[in-house]
């Protein structure tokens, strides 16, 4: 459940982060300010409070959601804000010549954004994405507060029923550590192996 929630959130968050980046570069003041406030809010409020907010506010507005949906929405929106901030550096780092060559090839601004700028920005900020994946994996421990049974919640339940919190929480910690070490190792391998980094 931990891995499932984390990976879905990372992907949803990534899509949303790209959308936020597009808004920020759209030149439309309404969209720019929406993206700005969104990013500031989700980076400025503890994830725990965000989850409580989504879990309680949406039903109060008449939208009931399962624990899983709440967890996914909360984690995705939060990571979207962080990933958008990471991507900003990537988008700024795309060499202008690559955009000129796309213009000369007849790409529309939307096509240039989708097929040239976004893939290059993603590639340039790949290490930050791996980092964010690890952060979200750790942050997913919080979704137990909205009632989702994941690794940390399972450890809590076990600790309560066995009266052995020490070995149980320690094991939970080790499992997180192991997953993160694997993610980090894959990330390092991929960073070396993936093509597509613009020349310096």
């Amino acid at each position: 459940m931990t891995i499932f929630v984390s990976s879905i959130s990372i992907l949803l968050g990534l899509g949303f982060a790209i959308l936020l980046s597009a808004m920020r570069m759209s030149g439309n003041l309404v969209l720019i300010n929406f993206a700005r406030v969104f990013i500031s809010f989700f980076r400025g409020v503890p994830l725990l409070v965000q989850l409580l907010l989504i879990f309680n506010l949406l039903p109060a507005l008449g939208l009931s959601l399962s624990s899983l949906a709440t967890a996914l929405i909360g984690l995705s929106l939060c990571t979207a804000a962080y990933q958008a901030e990471n991507l900003r550096g990537g988008f700024e780092g795309v060499p202008p010549g690559l955009i000129e060559s796309a213009e000369m090839a007849g790409f529309s601004p939307t096509q240039t954004f989708l097929h040239i700028r976004t893939p290059i920005a993603l590639r340039m900020t790949f290490p930050a994405l791996v980092n964010e994946a690890i952060l979200i994996l750790k942050a997913s421990s919080l979704v137990s507060v909205v009632g989702l049974i994941e690794l940390t919640k399972m450890a809590q339940n076990l600790a309560a029923s066995t009266y052995m919190p020490l070995p149980i929480f320690a094991s939970a910690g080790l499992i997180y550590l192991a997953i993160n070490l694997v993610v980090a190792a894959i990330g390092r391998r991929a960073e070396v192996a993936l093509p597509g980094l613009p020349a310096k």
């Binding site: 690559l98 000129e100 097929h115 597509g196 613009p198």
Partner: protein, 262 residues
Amino acid sequence: MTTPAISVQNVSKRYGETLVLRDINLEIPRGEVTCLIGPSGSGKSTLLRCMAFLEETTSGSILIEGEPLGFIEKDGKRRAQSPSELRATRSKVGMVFQQFNLWPHMTALGNVSAALRRVRKMPRKEAEERAMAQLTKVGLEDRAGHYPSQLSGGQQQRVAIARALALDPTIMLFDEPTSALDPELTGEVLNVMRALADEGMTMVAVTHEIGFAASVGNTVCFLDQGKLLFHDTPEKVFAAPRHPRLEQFLDTYLDRGASMLK
């Protein structure tokens, strides 16, 4: 009289206080090779970039095969072209950059076929066949699956030429295509350009390769401090007695193939 491929009319360009182009008038005839030479800072690259509307002129206008580039004149009024109108006018022009500007996340084949697929909406197979034909033309069919980072500078520039040619431009612009290359790699790029000239492509090249300008160019234009000092056939331009500024310029490029002119 046929309309020229490009006509540059009273073009001036200013960056803040500095005038980088001063009232340039020039006609690029079809099917010929025009080389722009001059010291760095003379405005030759800016002029070329204006011909692709990568830079906007401060005043004056540029016509591509008789059609205005970047603006539309209607009932005596002038307005900016919309992005799609601009793309239509610009589609006649292919551009090759000093820094190649290949897209690093696509293979050579991907770079050449991308616009065919995305802009011309060609099916993938057809686009890749045409792209392959262009890569063959520049001698890189066996490098189609390589990413730019796996290619030498000369190979990257040849891919960039193939990418521009794939869109069937009638005019090719070259912005110092060999300046970023190690000297031993310039030859392969110049050979591709020479072959292209032999096919009758209209070409405008900003270059420091004086030898290329002298042997392939039909016209050589000499720019200095934003002014087009003169333009003529290479025989006349390089024949003694030369203009003192040109003489001075050639002296600094003696090691770059200009020695053959001395």
